[in-house]
Symmetry: C2
Subunit: 340 residues, 2 copies
């Protein structure tokens, strides 16, 4: 059965009021606050239909209505009007990001900015290694049997790792090793390096084989397996704002989820082409997050996407505002990255 325009307007009004007041909203206060042009009784009939269809529900008989996850979903998909950012917000974003000196700094500032603007928990993924290319590999001798491997990606990320060699290696040999790995790997997508790393062992001079074998193991770990992704987090204190009414009383599951990098990566890291994604309550596969919503998007220089960012809050959140903010911040960060 179709929902006519007025019913949709009623749903929209319910969502907006509930988000604003955090209290179940009744038919009378609805017609008072919004210009619906009909009487409370009519609204009640509409509400009955909306409830039957699963968009709203009553916490108790004879209480007002509250949107369900499904209701929020409909609201987000079809009812929310875009909320343009205020000039003050735009300025805040520019000012905040302008002073960044390098990638680490950009990520840190971004995550704090997001948390502050949305007043929610913000998560930013460092530019994904899988999507980066090798810009340079450096081998720094620490002792005769120890090297520091430093990998610099074109996204600005730098990873380092200690290499314990099986036998002492001369300084000149280190230079040879360095030349070799750079020749073969610079410019290559990290995700495509494994076969090339294998080949390195065959290509190199026999007396370097043992060292190169060890080095290649570490290379593989650094480039592909380990640390794969890094995250920055901010604004956890915002979770404790809503007087413990959100998140049905306990922050524990949420805090636990936030400590699981794997979960967070799934949430904000799985980015399709530049779309913004909203996951509401139930829609999160992870059980601990059934009381939360996540707004996430990808970011990167130009059209390419190098990582994800997003915010997490109660299902009862200001979707239009949050969506606008996340989208704007991601675009600014993308522009910033494009400049380098």
């Amino acid at each position: 059965m179709g929902l006519d325009d007025r019913k949709l307007a009623v749903l929209r009004a319910i969502v907006e009021d509930y988000v604003a007041t955090q209290e179940p909203v009744g038919s009378k206060s609805l017609v008072e606050r919004h210009q619906l042009g009909v009487s409370p009784a009519t609204v009640r009939n509409d509400m009955a239909v909306l409830e039957e269809e699963g968009y709203i529900r009553q916490p108790h008989t004879s209480a007002g209505r509250v949107p369900t996850d499904r209701g929020y979903r409909l609201f987000v998909d079809r009812l929310s009007r875009v909320k343009p950012l205020s000039p003050a917000e735009r300025r805040a974003i520019e000012r905040f990001l302008a002073g960044a000196v390098d990638l680490d700094d950009v990520v840190h500032r971004t995550v704090r900015l997001l948390a502050q603007l949305t007043r929610q928990v913000a998560v930013v993924q460092y530019p994904s290694l899988a999507r980066s290319r090798v810009r340079h590999l450096e081998l720094v001798p620490i002792s005769t049997t120890r090297l520091m491997l430093v990998m610099i990606a074109d996204t600005g990320r730098v990873e380092q790792r200690l290499v314990e060699l099986p036998a002492p290696v001369l300084a000149d040999d280190v230079l040879d090793l360095r030349r070799l790995v750079n020749e073969k790997l610079v410019g290559v997508r990290l995700s495509e390096t494994p076969p090339l790393v294998q080949a390195l062992i065959d290509d190199c001079a026999p007396h370097l084989r043992p060292a190169m074998t060890t080095l290649s193991t570490v290379l593989l770990e650094t480039l592909v397996e380990r640390h794969e992704e890094r995250l920055a987090l901010a604004g956890t204190a915002n979770l404790a704002r809503g007087g413990l009414l959100d998140f049905q009383g306990s922050l524990r599951p949420i805090l636990e989820a936030l400590e699981e990098e794997v979960v967070l990566l799934k949430l904000i890291g799985e980015v399709e082409p530049s779309t913004l994604r909203v996951r509401i309550g139930d829609e999160n596969e992870y059980d601990n997050l059934r009381a939360a919503s996540v707004v996430s998007t990808g970011y990167g220089p130009g059209a390419t996407i190098v990582g994800g960012m997003g915010v997490l809050g109660p299902t009862r959140m200001d979707y239009p505002g949050t969506i606008a903010t996340v989208r704007a911040v991601a675009r600014y960060v993308g522009e910033l990255l494009a400049q380098n």
Copy 2:
């Protein structure tokens, strides 16, 4: 007025029971659970004195007694018996830390381990740069006007930073710059580098002056001013365990404090010679932490201290157990660092 041995025993019993049950403890249940050898009435008299002296208090008239911050302090200073770690715990520590591949990994594993063993929030400071020495400086050309500066400290920490040169520089000149900075700075305590960095500009060949001037600015920032300290955090979900009874209802101030790196550094970073420090409730200068206690200590290879670590929990916490764990973990990590 002095507190005789029995009164101290009563205080100890109150603390132990309250920590275990989280409920105000009365005279009757006290004598039942502990072998005090006297009647409830006697205990009541002792309690009256303890209350007068400010070691315990009554939440309401005719409720049991609860330790005050001052009571916990006395308990920690004079009454707690050392709780040796269980063999299982020792094994857990060893196993957990054994697999670490580099400094980052050590810090991450340590902070998780601490959080898990104490079931509280754990904080670990990365080896402080101020206490480290320069092991090596590397300059990686990114383009003709851009260098990546990589600093490796003897504690294993690696910092990197992008340098934007005022004018293009030849590859050979980069090598010269690298030789120069390494000659002058390797082996020097980071906190003592500023005058030497200044001198670098004078020492270098005239045509390198502009580049070296820029480089020296970045060097100073990297070595001394910026990022000075880093932290790792884990176990925030543990805050939400005690059913919101701890922390007088709101986690907000605590979560806020945990986001302020400066505050955390003050808490665990100010380490005196290898002592373990316990701050109970009020004793924290930071207001948001008046409902919390912090157990912290320094760590480092051998007798040197390179950083701090600690845990944060409700004032009502198992002090002996926590202290033992923190101390043990710090020692293990110190040994691990000494091996490198």
